[in-house]
Symmetry: C2
Subunit: 222 residues, 2 copies
């Protein structure tokens, strides 16, 4: 019974996700869903990405949190439109929430929407929001063993950002082992070492993302 209901919820979510994606494609807007643990640096990565790409693209941000609006306020302080979704207690975003958020944005004016999912390495990986790419951030302090414990999120991601890379010397993080295990789970996703708050390593990630935005604009995306 529980499983049947879960499947029905997932199916309803996927129908709405497809509708979201069709809307994005119609306007040539590329949409990326950023997933990570609490405190891995999702908002810092978004702010660094905005600084790297704002001269080239019109960007908006959709912020997902259980509670509070501090992240949307941080983004708006940079002069970028941001919609805050508060999930109440839900541990992930769903496509219906994204639809309501997108209703408040002018898609004809945008090139790129960055969604910040709820801080969680588990639930967000199961829910298609209509985005074109899921990207996950692991931060160095979390440890190199996380792909063993949370394999699914590494498998569904089109790119992996290894954030707080500047703290590598403070923590016992085995980068070679991390890369090997991620490769085993996902042979395609590039891994971008980054220190988002210091601006280091942002360029490589931003160029990868810019390539995807260009594809979306010219209709070769998704």
């Amino acid at each position: 019974m529980q499983i049947e209901i879960e499947q029905r919820i997932l199916a309803a979510n996927e129908r709405l996700a497809a509708e979201n994606r069709a809307r994005f494609d119609e306007h040539g807007v590329f949409v990326v869903d950023l997933m990570a643990s609490p405190g891995a640096g999702k908002t810092s990565t978004i702010l660094a990405t905005i600084e790297a790409l704002r001269d080239r693209y019109a960007i908006a941000v959709i912020e997902g949190d259980i509670a509070s609006k501090v992240d949307a306020e941080k983004v708006r302080a940079h002069g970028i439109p941001a919609v805050q979704i508060n999930t109440g207690g839900a541990c992930h975003l769903e496509s219906a929430m994204i639809r309501r958020a997108v209703d408040t944005l002018d898609l004809a004016e945008l090139d790129l929407i960055i969604i910040e999912n709820v801080g969680n390495l588990v639930c967000p990986s199961d829910f298609d929001l209509g985005e074109h790419a899921k990207v996950m951030i692991l931060s160095v302090p979390e440890g190199h063993d996380k792909p063993y414990k949370y394999p699914n999120i590494f498998q569904v991601s089109q790119a992996v950002i290894l954030n707080k890379y500047d703290t590598m010397s403070v923590f016992d993080f085995d980068e070679a082992e991390f890369r090997e295990v991620v490769r085993g789970l996902n042979g395609l996703a590039p891994i971008f070492p980054m220190s988002a708050t210091k601006g280091e390593g942002v360029q490589a990630w931003a160029e990868w993302l810019a390539g995807r935005v260009e594809d979306a604009k010219t209709g070769r995306g998704a």
Copy 2:
């Protein structure tokens, strides 16, 4: 419909949790449920707690993970019985999983069971496992703003461990603000600064826990 089903699942979970708790109480075993983000240091805290209390109490550990058995192996390497639960994809432990794990332990021989929940600041806070206390760990690299974003887990915890305290100088963590917000959410829970892997601050936490174990042994617990 979704909400009705969720309530039925929660009610079933609570019935089993009460049964678990009655079993623990019958044997005077104190049970603590450790919750945290991925990589906040749950396993390191458990290993440090074992070292601090193993001469006084008979301890067992129940390890919850989506996948892998690396944590149970780490605990067993210290000569402590450990049961690994793999949730498949579930983002939290439930009382039925704990019952099956406890069936493999000899409660008559134990004083303390430490449960390591799945790394997640959201879902574990909603599920009673039959434990006597939920305790959460926040690590300094996650940032002092987490109580704003994940208030519920701070509210249901009887103690808060602030781990990786030795990295305070590396991160922009405002401890005064953190303590003030946690106080607003939960006026009773003590906050224990700790560096589990370095053994710093472990004693204060271990003595708090020992007090609870003593209460449980003499029937004044829970």
